[in-house]
Symmetry: D2
Subunit: 346 residues, 4 copies
């Protein structure tokens, strides 16, 4: 089968031809139709510091995907059928740890990530443990292919109290834009979105942000305080990972408010713990992955009911062969979410 | 001043002329502009069993209102000003009990209700403890006059987990209709509404119910199970107080779901505790009043942001003198919410 | 192997000799050392109405047990080893439903119970899905054999807010006595226990109840109100299933309090929903099984740390052959928890 | 009356003679019996950077106290009586903000602290708003005098899930020692305490810590990981404010765990947000003051029931005149909690 691999400890990805994966007794094999390209894939392609420390070539990359079941392991039971359209959680946990047995699989220390720690989804076929697979129902494989990053946004937003609340989203990459849409769908009274890229702010506006703040032109803290009568917002979603945004997020949260951290800073961040956390009585929450599998059921409900539509954020689609073009588009800052077509349209 | 009073231990209400109330040191006096007429007022007018046991005439009736501050007690401080448009929580608590000091004033055993236990709001002026008063900001006094019953709906709906959930509202009187609107605004994936009155179901539809079930024509449980692939709904709001609806609500809730009880049954209700509560792992919650004052701040946010608009439910307005017409309209079953004009339009 | 079976649709249990169970690919086979005898086993032996409607003979009965792993299925992985001392959750769920994938397996509609819906634990060997198995560590198999009913008590108590609270336990059978001990260990300020059986009240006292109320001699509601300055208790655990106790429990709960229902009433229960639930703003919760598997980890922590010791409740031990004596002892009302020795002491 | 004042913008405190305070309409005047000396009083005496920026002499210092009511304002009602033994919350909030009306008074931006922003409790009499006053019942005024700092510990510990959990307390000053005792009383399975002062560790042991870690002799992270089989602890209470302890606390928390910040760092703290917060899925909470007034009712329940006894932490008592000795004792690091006798024993 065709696959996109990291072959060597050096920059670049390669389109290769490798054997189709075997189907373990508790696995299903999925023919991949669409896959999402993520910042993580870019790090792996560019072979940056993080990639050098984590990735062991050769490996098939990619962790966001959807497709059709073509083979079912003999111990899987009758939960799935051949031809069924599905996506899957890309974090694979042991199933025997306390975390994975108590609804906290997303923080299980045994987690392996497809496309990072084992072969991933930029390939015509992928074998996945049946327990990681989610049926799509009427959801398309294009949308299914990005339920992984959408799930990050659902996890971030829905672990705060949203109905009637004011929400600030810092960083309007695809996950930030999804977060704007989730907050609107969940009944936020007012959603502020901030970024330095006008194209991303435009997408945030398309997803429903009431106020879009271009941080190259105005001060986020000043604007948010001004718009909230100096009260600050109930919920901050920090999706940028930038130290300045982290500080601004803490400043913009109202006393007693909540700050969700999803954006990953590269280095230590200096935090004014006394004034910005303790005296304000804030709650902070580190968001990793998706709740396994509560987030997935919430997300499916939002999409199937029409409450949430990620379409405006999907800006580009490329065939598998043009992975380099896909990566270049992301680097340009002009893209929302970029989709790879792997096995045709479904 | 003019007021509507219960004068004797017998059916009927009277328009009377009585002295304007004094302003206590910690009170404000409010000139009432609009008031809402409630089922409770009907019980008092009709002098039913409950009214006979609770009401001590003579008393000014009415507990839902909004108006303008005309006098401020000398110990109130600077939180309010003359001419300010306000409404007020009608449950008056001591402020010294554990409940009222820990955000649970709504279940404080010392509660006195205006228009029931002390003079109420169907009068040109009312004196209220400043601590019960809420500023209206840009909200009209017509809308302010019904924040008390809307608050019941907000309390009922927002103490459940709504975003992405399926919700069943049983009983589509004004509070049931408000509940439909709150559930939609808070991101419910699907809202079912049931009643036996077609006019009320129409109002529920106007407030956004996805499925309106006429219980004279079809079985609620059957329909809800059919629409939810036999899973049941996540949240049930029981707003009718009817024993049959209570049973149906328990049956329609999904395993692990939540049932909110607001409708007040007159007698004991036989409940299948084993099958309908324990084996399903349900959580039930008795809703009384509004959370003091969390519900009020949530409600103001929903209204000011435009997330929630109760207008379709307001079907009739009468001048104060026509209180008997107002009561007759409610009895007819043709009304949503009925408003009394007390002190002109504001 | 030897087993205790229900062979016919008639009263009685039989000691039989049947083949050892096979080990499925994802199962482990456990040599049972000790088993707990439960009221459920009594219903099956007595062939009462419930048993007639649910049980399909022939079946091995018993669902509370602990023992040693003797065989491991080839797909189980390395989470367990031969000779390991374990117990197991007796509710077997599909693993593919929303409930079982979101930490709510205890309310999964696909649940099958060992000893009720499929062969159980009163046998020398039992095959269990590895995902249901819990390692015992340093906990004895006697104690492990009753983690199922103790788990009911942990689930009941720990889903309420216990530290510093007042708690009323209605019904002091083994699970009620365990609940008393869990409430004490979790920092309840005051624990009241009520029953009509003096022996059971004595056990409740041994487990740490501050006040033991003999309901044949005094009124529970009167006593509890007297001891709490008419405030009522924060948390009620209803473990009897008796309609009178259910009413008393609702009356004894303070406004804003919580009532946990575990005891299973045989018939409908008339409930004063208006006065006893709505006007008091109560939260009610139906307790079924154990949270899978949060309750198990909590329980293991309480036992291993020495916070909780169920020993006083274990009053009788019988060899497997004397199952009839065991059942007779339970019927007498003189027993706490009754243990069967199956495969010797470990 | 006699009082201890900060008279000038320079180091030192003075015993002075000033007029007794007037009793406002909604105040009570309390004759102070005992007062607690706090690190804050030391900062004010020493006239450090923080004190210079915040304190406006002349001011009576001290904010922890208990005594007897000697005068009641005419609008207070009948909640209190002359001669009643009471303590009081020292954070005075407006009562009209959203925070103070929704059970979040502890984060109200209008807060004024007695002994810091207005006259305090190191005086024979103090006037307090009745709404801040808590009756002591059978609790002594010595114990009542330190309910303010004990309340910090109760707030810190009881906003985490304690029963059955493992808890690490970093910093064993008086509040840290109280936290150890609260965690034990609330059913923690294992409590670790760490400090660099052997005398403080001894007190932590007296309050019930299972493991006392002298950070001058061994590495906290290493020891905690070793004792928890590399899982980390469920709950961390950071009571030191030291940047190294903050980092160690984040490292010691298990994935999915919770870290409570009470100790106030003087400067920015560099935090590894990616590895120590996000990838671990931690929840962090900034603790300020006491929940008004939920914490006070919890605390009273723990003390009255005998669950919690702070006595081992009270190491010194001085008459009011020896305030300088009291401060010197605190500076020495040899003290737990230091009490001032103001108005004799009660």
């Amino acid at each position: 089968m065709r696959a996109i691999q990291k072959l060597e400890r050096a920059p670049g990805l390669k389109l290769t031809d490798i054997p189709k994966p075997d189907c373990g007794l508790t696995d299903v094999v999925i023919q991949v139709k669409h896959a999402g390209v993520c910042g993580t894939d870019l790090h792996i392609a560019d072979w940056d510091e993080w990639a050098q420390s984590r990735i062991k070539p050769p490996i098939v990359v990619g962790h966001e995907f959807a497709g059709e079941i073509v083979e079912i392991g003999q111990d899987v039971g009758d939960a799935f059928h051949i031809g069924q359209r599905v996506t899957a959680e890309g974090h694979i946990v042991s199933g025997h740890t306390r975390q994975s047995r108590t609804g906290q699989g997303h923080v299980c220390p045994t987690t392996q990530i497809i496309g990072v720690d084992r072969d991933g989804a930029f390939a015509e076929f992928i074998a996945m443990p049946a327990s990681n697979v989610m049926r799509l129902g009427d959801i398309s494989t294009v949308m299914g292919a990005i339920m992984d990053p959408m799930g990050n946004a659902f996890h971030t937003v829905l672990t705060a109290e949203i109905p009637g609340s004011t929400v600030l989203v810092l960083g309007c990459g695809p996950i930030g834009c999804f977060a704007v849409g989730v907050a609107r769908a969940a009944g936020a009274a007012r959603v502020f979105a901030a970024d330095l890229n006008p194209r991303r702010l435009e997408l945030a506006g398309d997803m429903g942000a009431h106020v879009c703040i271009d941080v190259t032109r105005e001060d986020v803290v000043h604007r948010v305080m001004d718009e909230t009568k100096s009260e600050g917002v109930d919920v901050v979603c920090e999706m940028s990972g930038h130290p300045v945004a982290i500080r601004q997020g803490l400043e913009c949260a109202r006393p007693g408010g909540r700050v969700q951290f999803l954006g990953i800073p590269q280095h230590e961040v200096p935090i004014r713990v006394a004034n910005d956390v303790i005296f304000k009585g804030l709650t902070l929450y580190g968001v990793v992955g998706r709740k396994m599998f509560e987030t997935w059921y919430q997300m499916r409900s939002f999409i199937e009911s029409g409450l949430f539509d990620p379409s405006p954020v999907i800006t580009h689609t490329f065939p598998m062969e043009q992975i380099d073009d896909a990566l270049r588009t992301i680097r340009s800052g002009e893209a929302g979410k970029v989709i790879l077509e792997i096995g045709g349209t479904a």
